[in-house]
């Protein structure tokens, strides 16, 4: 039993939504179509793809927020795809998710420390007073001033709200954070600040990250491993360095061209 389990392991995952009636929805392929991946402790896997490539569906399945059609999922050696909702609940704290718009998953009437303490309240951990003290520590750990705890959501900028979301995700000592386009809605300068915070947290507490994005360059900067998704499948995977220096698949090259720095478009490239 000395073997180190991956923080996350996924085998042949398939998710297929019953096709809805209406224009354009008939005969749709699987949203996730046979994906296998694994994340080692204290490392980052970036999952890169366009919208509609299935990356968010995969994230929801991995976080056990959606039931996969078939396939197996392990969290740190525990096969969660076999568990009932009741057995899953005490284990949910192992994996936390952060979304593009953190405000949509927060009560606007609550203070920042109430928001961060909520998982502790739900899981019934610590006394009331310790819960808020812990929340205060977490807010400081994600780089917010000590006064932030008493302020409400409307008083924070987008970047600060994302920091609050990260603090909440850390509250239960999760080993894996799933970030679904968590930087995409932020200004470039704020993206860099939050990216640095993630690097810091990984170094200091050894958490693993599943970083989902369409920005291949940012993905390659933050991640150890990069997997490129297209139409429900992983079409290219490797170390960040390999993927960015020697992109093999057409989709990877397209994502690279779309996210690499300063360039110019011309009218002629229309509909190319």
């Amino acid at each position: 039993m000395n073997e180190v389990h991956p923080i996350l392991e996924v085998e042949a995952l398939v998710k297929c939504y019953a096709s809805r009636r209406g224009a354009g929805h008939s005969g749709r392929a699987n949203a996730v179509d046979g994906v296998s991946l694994s994340i080692a402790p204290a490392t980052t896997l970036a999952l890169v793809g366009e919208s509609g490539s299935g990356k968010s569906t995969l994230a929801f399945c991995v976080a056990c927020l959606e039931k996969p059609t078939s396939g197996r999922i392990w969290w740190n050696g525990l096969e969660v795809s076999l568990l009932t909702e009741k057995d899953l609940r005490p284990n949910r704290s192992r994996v936390q998710m952060i979304f593009q718009d953190p405000a949509s998953a927060m009560n606007p009437r609550w203070t920042a420390s109430q928001i961060v303490a909520e998982p502790l309240v739900i899981q019934n951990q610590l006394t009331r007073r310790d819960q808020f003290e812990h929340a205060q520590l977490l807010l400081e750990r994600v780089g917010l001033p000590a006064s932030a705890g008493a302020r409400r959501l409307a008083e924070f900028s987008g970047g600060q709200r994302q920091r609050i979301a990260i603090a909440r995700a850390l509250a239960l000592g999760s080993k894996l954070l799933i970030l679904d386009e968590a930087l995409s809605a932020l200004d470039c300068s704020v993206q860099a600040q939050i990216a640095n915070l993630l690097l810091d947290l990984q170094e200091s507490s050894g958490i693993s990250l599943l970083f989902i994005t369409h920005d291949l360059v940012m993905a390659a900067h933050l991640a150890d491993q990069v997997a490129v998704m297209d139409r429900g499948r992983i079409v290219e995977a490797g170390t960040a360095d390999e993927v960015i220096r020697h992109p093999e698949h057409e989709q990877t090259r397209m994502l690279l061209a779309a996210s690499s720095g300063l360039g110019r478009v011309t009218p002629e490239s229309r509909d190319a």
Binding site: G22, A23, G24, E50, S51, S157, G158, G159, A185, D187, C188, S189, V190, Q191, A192, Q193, A195, N196, L199, H214, D215, V217, M218, A220, H221, L222, D224, A240, D241, M254, L255, A258, S259, S260, G261, L262, G263, R264, V265, T266, P267, S269, R270, D271, A272
Partner: protein
């Protein structure tokens, strides 16, 4: 031909500018009478067919500028000072009725979130036709034909099918194209696009930018492209204006001003983006050189340069007064004491 001159960036055409903004100051006041300045002494020109990129962080006044140009400031917002001269007319002197004939017809605005800007229960073609109806007298059949042909300018095929679709049946990129169709339906001289690609993924983003480039070439429409992302601006703009905390800190030809910015703010902004030249040399998983802190609270400004608290090149004089714009390179202005100011 006009567009060609503008493409070259530095050529000053002999025609008068399409839009001349001089010393524009905008304040927001709240009910308690508290006043918060939003824009301070903004001046710039746009030539016919030119693409001007406006770059800056959220809260720097980019959207306020777009709304002020069209006389659409939200309640509490007032233009305290300055001139907005468009096509020879002073827009600040126009009545509300006169402004209605400018908006959507001569100057159009494209918002960032296409799913909010379209009515969910009206066919998109009808929504394009309504813009035509507001500004031109056309019979039903002509209006339909014209709306289809405008859609044909932004979609490469199937404009009839798109015409009779509802917004929810279209993708994000297609909805953005519909908004662009609405914006160009009356052949405006100027388009203002406020973060037009923020909600789109990367390949759709470049399709939309390519469409703007094509529209400029074909119809000679000038464009103000507003974004926080230098990569987006660099793809289209002939010239750029960098806003920081409600002031212009740099203005110049896009290629020069983005490749080697003069002001410490855009320099720091570019350094913070992975993949931009300087960071390419950084090893992966190392800290990005982020600009620490946030833009200042404009209702509590100090005397000095607004960027001074976050600037890595600060000097003693930076806290004394605000730097004035100087022109160290031809057509390339900067407001920083490093260059005199």
């Amino acid at each position: 031909m006009i567009a060609d001159a503008a493409l070259n960036g530095c050529v000053r055409p002999l025609m008068p500018a399409l839009l001349e903004v001089r010393d524009l100051c905008v304040d927001y006041g709240d009910r308690s009478g508290h006043i918060r300045p939003a824009l301070d002494s903004i001046s710039f020109d746009i030539q016919h067919g030119e693409i001007l990129g406006i770059l800056g962080e959220s809260g720097c006044g980019k959207s306020t500028l777009a709304l002020a140009l069209l006389g659409l400031l939200p309640s509490g917002g007032i233009v305290r000072r300055g001139n907005i001269k468009f096509d020879g007319r002073e827009l600040r002197d126009q009545t509300e009725r006169e402004m209605e004939s400018v908006r959507g017809a001569r100057i159009s605005l494209i918002f960032q979130e296409p799913s909010i800007a379209l009515h969910p229960m009206i066919r998109v073609g009808e929504q394009v036709a309504r813009v035509l109806n507001a500004h031109e007298t056309l019979d039903r059949r002509k209006r339909h034909e014209k709306a289809v042909s405008v859609l044909g300018e932004v979609f490469s095929s199937e404009s009839e099918r798109i015409y009779s679709s509802y917004p929810h049946q279209l993708s994000g990129g297609q909805r953005q194209r519909v908004l662009i169709a609405q914006a160009i339906a009356c052949r405006p001289a100027l388009l203002i696009a406020d973060e037009p690609t923020a909600s789109l993924d990367s390949s759709t983003q470049s399709e939309i930018l390519t469409l703007f480039a094509a529209l400029r070439q074909k119809l000679g429409i000038a464009l103000i492209l507003i974004s926080h992302n230098p990569a987006i601006i660099s793809q289209l703009a002939d010239r750029i204006l960098v806003l920081y905390a409600g002031r212009v800190v740099e203005e110049g030809p896009a290629v020069a001003a983005l490749r080697s910015p003069l002001h410490p703010y855009p320099r720091a902004l570019l350094r913070a983006i992975p993949g931009s030249s300087e960071v390419a040399l950084l090893t992966h998983k190392t800290k990005l050189p982020a600009i620490e802190g946030a833009p200042p609270d404009l209702s509590a400004l100090n005397h000095g340069c607004r960027f001074e608290p976050r600037c890595i090149d600060r000097m003693p004089e930076c806290t004394d007064r605000e730097p004035l714009p100087v022109e160290p390179e031809e057509n390339h202005k900067v407001a920083c004491f490093k260059y005199g100011g």
